[in-house]
C-alpha cells in the first residue's frame, strides 16, 4: 500500500529561483534564506520519498484567463519548466507518476472532488522553487512528482476547508494504491505578502507564526480562516496559504513537527517553511 508519510510546506518566491539560477545563493541576503533549508535537505535525504505530490499555483504560465481550473492534477509523464519571460529555468524536467496520478484522479473524483485532469502542462517557479529548496540543484530530480495546481490567482480560490478536505481525499486515494510507495506531500506559496497595488509590501509575521502554530497543532482553526482575513491580514496574495491546507488534510490529525523556519524578506515575501510527519511514520 502507498502511504503519505510527511508533509512539507514552503514559500515559492520567484526571486529565490532567480538567486539559484544566477549563482547568488552565497550572498548574505540569500544565505539568510537558504541556510534555513539545510536541515530540510538532510531530512529529505533520509526520508527518500518514492513520489512527491506538490500542491502549488501556476502564475499565468500554463493557465491564462482562457481556462481557470480550481484544482488541476498533473497526470502526464513529464512537465517541462515554463518560460516565464526570461527563458525556462535551468532545472531538470519534472518527471510525473502517471499511474499513481491516474489512480488519484479516479479515486478523488468518485469521492466528489471534481478535479481537472491535465495531460500536458508546463510548470513554473511555483513548483520548481520548492523542489530546489528541498532537493538542491541535482541533474535530475530524485523522484517522480505529481503536480496539483490550485487556482489562487482568480478570486475566489477554493476555501481552506475545501483544500483540507481534498487533502484528506488524496490521502484516501494514495492509501488505496496497491504498490508500496512512500509519498511526501508539499504545500507551497505564502506566507504573508502583497505584490499588487499601493499596499504592496505588507508583511504580518504575527499572523504567519500563528498560522504555522495552527497548522501544526490545531488544523481545524487553520482551515476556518476566511479569504478576507488572509487578504486583510497577510496581503492580497497571502491567500495562497490555503494551499498549505491540502498538505495538512493529507496528514494525521496529530502530527510531529520536525522542523520550522521563518524569515523576512525574500523580495516582497515572508518565507515560511515547516515539516510535519505523521506520528506513526
Amino acid at each position: 500500500m502507498a502511504k503519505i508519510v510527511a508533509g512539507v510546506c514552503s514559500s515559492h518566491v520567484p526571486a529565490i529561483g532567480a538567486a539559484i539560477d544566477n549563482g547568488k545563493t552565497q550572498e548574505p541576503y540569500w544565505q539568510r534564506v537558504f541556510s534555513g533549508f539545510e536541515e530540510s535537505k538532510r531530512w529529505m535525504e533520509k526520508v527518500k520519498p518514492d513520489v512527491c505530490i506538490v500542491v502549488y499555483n501556476d502564475h499565468a504560465s500554463a493557465f491564462s484567463m482562457d481556462v481557470v481550473p480550481t484544482f488541476a492534477l498533473g497526470c502526464a509523464a513529464e512537465f517541462p519548466p515554463a518560460d516565464e519571460g526570461w527563458g525556462p529555468r535551468p532545472v531538470p524536467v519534472v518527471k510525473g507518476h502517471p499511474k499513481l496520478a491516474a489512480h488519484i484522479a479516479q479515486s478523488v473524483i468518485l469521492d466528489e472532488f471534481d478535479l481537472t485532469v491535465v495531460n500536458k502542462m508546463e510548470v513554473d517557479h511555483g513548483l520548481t522553487v520548492p523542489l530546489n529548496l528541498m532537493f538542491g540543484s541535482p541533474k535530475e530530480w530524485p523522484c517522480p512528482v505529481i503536480p496539483l495546481a490550485v487556482n489562487v490567482v482568480l478570486f475566489p480560490p477554493p476555501t481552506g476547508k475545501r483544500c483540507y478536505d481534498l487533502g484528506a481525499a488524496i490521502r484516501r486515494a494514495v492509501e488505496s494504491y496497491p504498490e508500496d510507495l512512500k509519498v511526501v506531500i508539499f504545500g507551497t506559496g505564502g506566507m504573508s505578502h502583497q505584490i499588487s497595488g499601493p499596499r504592496a509590501g505588507l508583511i504580518n509575521s504575527e499572523f504567519d507564526k500563528a498560522f504555522l502554530d495552527a497548522l501544526a497543532t490545531d488544523p481545524s482553526k487553520a482551515k476556518g480562516i476566511r479569504h478576507v482575513e488572509y487578504m486583510r491580514e497577510a496581503g492580497a496574495e497571502g491567500v495562497e496559504m490555503v494551499m498549505w491546507l491540502v498538505m495538512r488534510g493529507a496528514l494525521d490529525d496529530k502530527v510531529n513537527e520536525v522542523y520550522r523556519f521563518y524569515t523576512v524578506p525574500a523580495s516582497n515575501t515572508a518565507v515560511g517553511h515547516i515539516i510535519l510527519e505523521n506520528a506513526a511514520a
Binding site: A15, S61, M65, S192, I195, P198, R232, V264
Partner: protein, 132 residues
C-alpha cells in the same frame, strides 16, 4: 459571498482580482500573455498602440497600459501575474513594480522590506487610510 465581497472592498490599496474584474480585464490579461513570446515583445515595442488594438481594450484600458499606470491597469481588470509580464518586457522585476505601485522609490521600498515590510497596523481598512 456578497457580504465577503463588501468586506474585501474595504481593504485599502488593494484591487482584488475577482470574477467581475476578470470579466472586465480579459483583454488586458490576454495581451499580457502574448508577451511571453519574444517575437510578440518585439512587435509590441515597435508600435505599442497598434499592437494593443488586437485585444478589444476600452480606451481607458489602452491608455493605462501605454502610460504604464500599474495600479490603474489592476483597477481596470489586469492581474498582477499578467501585468508582471509587461513589467518584464520593460525590464522591471517584481520588486521594482511593487515599488512603483506604492509610490515609493526602489531603494525606499527595498529598505522597507529589509526592515520587516509594511505593517498590517494602520493598513487593514480604508477608514485608516482616509485619515492619512
Amino acid at each position: 459571498m456578497d457580504d465577503a465581497k463588501k468586506e474585501y472592498d474595504d481593504i485599502p490599496g488593494t484591487f482584488v482580482f475577482d470574477q467581475e474584474r476578470s470579466r472586465q480585464g480579459y483583454g488586458i490579461n490576454a495581451f499580457c500573455m502574448t508577451l511571453m513570446k519574444d517575437e510578440n515583445r518585439k512587435a509590441f515595442r515597435a508600435d505599442e498602440s497598434t499592437y494593443l488594438d488586437q485585444f478589444g481594450l476600452t480606451p481607458e484600458q489602452k491608455d493605462s497600459i501605454l502610460k504604464r499606470q500599474w495600479n490603474r491597469i489592476l483597477e481596470l481588470g489586469g492581474n498582477i501575474y499578467f501585468t508582471a509580464k509587461l513589467g518584464a518586457t520593460d525590464g522591471l522585476s517584481f520588486q521594482q513594480m511593487a515599488a512603483m505601485m506604492t509610490g515609493s522609490t526602489q531603494e525606499g521600498y527595498a529598505s522597507m522590506m529589509l526592515n520587516g515590510g509594511r505593517s498590517p497596523n494602520g493598513n487593514r481598512s480604508k477608514s485608516e487610510w482616509s485619515s492619512k
